[in-house]
Amino acid sequence: MVYALCFALFVIGLYCALTKKNIVKIVIGLTIMEYAVNLFLILLGYRKDGVAPIVDKATGPLEFLARSVDPLPQALVVTSIVIGLGVTTLAIALCVRLYEKYGTFDISEIRRLKG
């Protein structure tokens, strides 16, 4: 069920990226897609009533395994957020430059390339 919602979020992002005319909205769509995947990764590692995956002296490794959530997806998501930030920044920078050149954010008016 939660996974299905995650997938729905992904599809909303994809729809937004593919159909919107405003280039900033397209970038927002991309971001929604990325976050749907990040959410999916986090959910993969989630377990009910799990604790944060921090090992300390008091809890032994077996107890850690039994109680904590999976730490690996969290590490992946941190990396993926950083990558997403970089790409989004670049995309927004391109949007600004496009606006300077064409004077519009409308993708249907930005079409000099064809053939």
Binding site: L44, L94, L98
Partner: protein
């Protein structure tokens, strides 16, 4: 000693990308020197590592918890191709990029892209693959926009949107794989998939990988960004994008994941064959009508990528459906050999188009003419590359296409062989048009003062032209066993990959 060289393949370009902007703001010539030095040194590393089969654990963490890089036959071949084309491209850039300001930024992005591609070629970990994929892609978005004019920005934005969707799909696929198996290491994933029955989740992951990597490789339903993005970049970058980027991020990553991690099925082989044949036919027919030189070349890239996918897919199909193994190996050999050949002749064609643009200031074939006398060297190299891509003996493109045709006959697909030959003829037609309009005819008044390109650009083109003429020799017994067969073996081994990686550890 050799294992110490492995991290250098990523560390040198990454370090270069960091240091070049720092030191060459004041002394501009340093950017050229350092950029060329960096690509030359990784080329030497890649050649030294060519015979090495090794698993390298980053930071000394074992494969269970850490990230591994794996060098096998296919990775080694890809690394040499990537480093060779990068070196030639930097050689060419040192003079070509004089027209642009901020050369140090250019080299910085260039090396970042090379680092990403080398990482993709070496990695043995799915998430690490995604990270390097994004490093290379992000650098390439910025490089496409490097000119900063209307067309460049528009093309870069289009490319960024489509390629980001592709990367997100790849990440989603990786998440599915992790959910289904609980591993990210490729060898471990492959073993887990083999020991458990195939689930719908896995099929979904396969679909996501195919679309994601398919966008990066510009296979036909996902190709619209390529004819905009590749011509808009500066010429050496077009050479890098068409020559190696779509192969490393698209074809290499796709085949690595499909053949070695998930394992190929007859159905998937048939999908690859269909996509490959479609790309070949549609790409070449779109190319024939183009009058912009670089745009024409970009459409041919789609078509030639079709050959590669067709060859590899045909091999996978025959292997998975239990056909003649010799035909399967031959088909994969044809695909991989064409991949290597294409990176050489397509880079050369883009460099030649850059050289013409440098001299004449135009990319429109109709505005050129008579360059035969004023640019003899560009004409000679461009002719060699055109004959290679059209598959005229004795140049390299002929041999790889011949192998694919023979393999299609042996595998029992004569109609695929027919399509291959037909597409080859149309390609020849379209390049006769290029040679006719660019170099023959009479010289227009405005182009009377055109001169041959400066020395470094000429050297870069001559180096690639020599490779174009000589790469047929790789099929000679002896050279073939040493260079091409390990790459074919790495793919044909399929999911046995896991065993061979674990044995190296």
């Amino acid at each position: 000693m050799n294992t110490l060289l492995i991290p250098l393949l990523v560390a040198i370009p990454l370090g270069g990308a960091f240091f070049i902007p720092l030191v060459s703001r004041k002394v501009r010539v340093l950017a050229d020197i350092l950029g060329n030095l960096a690509t030359l040194s990784i080329l030497i590393c890649a050649i030294l590592l060519f015979r090495v089969r090794e698993v390298y654990s980053i930071g000394g963490w074992s494969a269970a918890v850490g990230i591994t890089w794996v060098l096998d036959g296919f990775s080694n071949l890809m690394l040499v191709i990537i480093c060779l084309i990068s070196f030639v491209a930097t050689l060419f850039s040192s003079q070509y990029m004089e027209r642009y300001t901020a050369k140090y930024k250019y080299y910085s992005l260039f090396l970042l892209m090379v680092a990403g591609m080398n990482g993709v070629a070496m990695t043995g970990d799915l998430f690490n693959l995604f990270v390097f994929l994004e490093v290379a892609s992000a650098a390439s978005y910025a490089l496409v926009a490097f000119g900063g004019e209307h067309e460049e920005l528009e093309a870069a934005f289009k490319y960024l949107v489509l390629a980001s969707i592709g990367s997100t799909l790849v990440l989603f696929g990786i998440a599915f794989i992790y959910g289904a198996t609980g591993y990210l290491n490729m060898a471990a994933v492959s073993q887990a998939i083999r020991s458990a029955p195939r689930t719908p989740i896995l099929t979904l992951a396969v679909v996501f990988f195919t679309v994601g990597f398919g966008i990066k490789a510009a296979l036909v339903p996902f190709h619209p960004w390529l004819p905009d993005a590749h011509p808009s970049a500066p010429a050496p970058i077009s050479a890098m994008l068409s020559g190696v980027l779509i192969k490393a991020l698209g074809i290499y990553a796709l085949t690595r994941v499909m053949f070695n991690v998930i394992g190929i099925t007859p159905v998937y082989g048939a999908v690859l064959i269909t996509v490959g044949a479609l790309s070949m036919v549609i790409g070449v027919f779109l190319a024939v009508g183009q009058w912009d030189f670089k745009r024409l070349l970009a459409y041919h890239s789609i078509s030639q990528m079709g050959y590669v996918v067709l060859g590899i897919g045909l091999g996978g199909y025959i292997l998975a459906s239990g056909g003649r193994e010799s035909a399967a190996l031959l088909a994969i050999l044809g695909g991989i050999f064409h991949l290597a050949n294409h990176s050489v002749f397509k880079s050369l064609l883009f460099l030649a188009s850059g050289s013409i643009e440098y001299g004449t200031g135009t990319r429109q074939l109709k505005e050129m003419g008579g360059l035969l006398e004023t640019m003899p060297l560009t004409r000679a190299t461009c002719t060699i590359a055109s004959l290679s891509i059209a598959g005229v003996p004795p140049f390299n493109g002929f041999w790889s296409k011949l192998i694919i045709v023979i393999a299609a006959f042996q595998g029992g697909f004569p109609w695929l062989a027919a399509i291959t030959i037909l597409v080859s003829f149309v390609t020849l037609l379209s390049f006769i048009k290029v040679l006719r309009y660019a170099f023959l005819g009479h010289l227009p008044e405005v182009l009377k003062s055109v001169r041959e390109s400066p020395a470094m650009m000429a050297i870069a083109m001559v180096v690639l032209a020599v490779f174009c003429s000589g790469m047929g020799l790789l099929l000679v017994p002896g050279a073939r066993e040493m260079i091409l067969d390990p790459a074919v073996g790495a793919l044909a081994n399929g999911v046995e990959y896991a065993q061979s990686v674990l044995a190296l550890r």
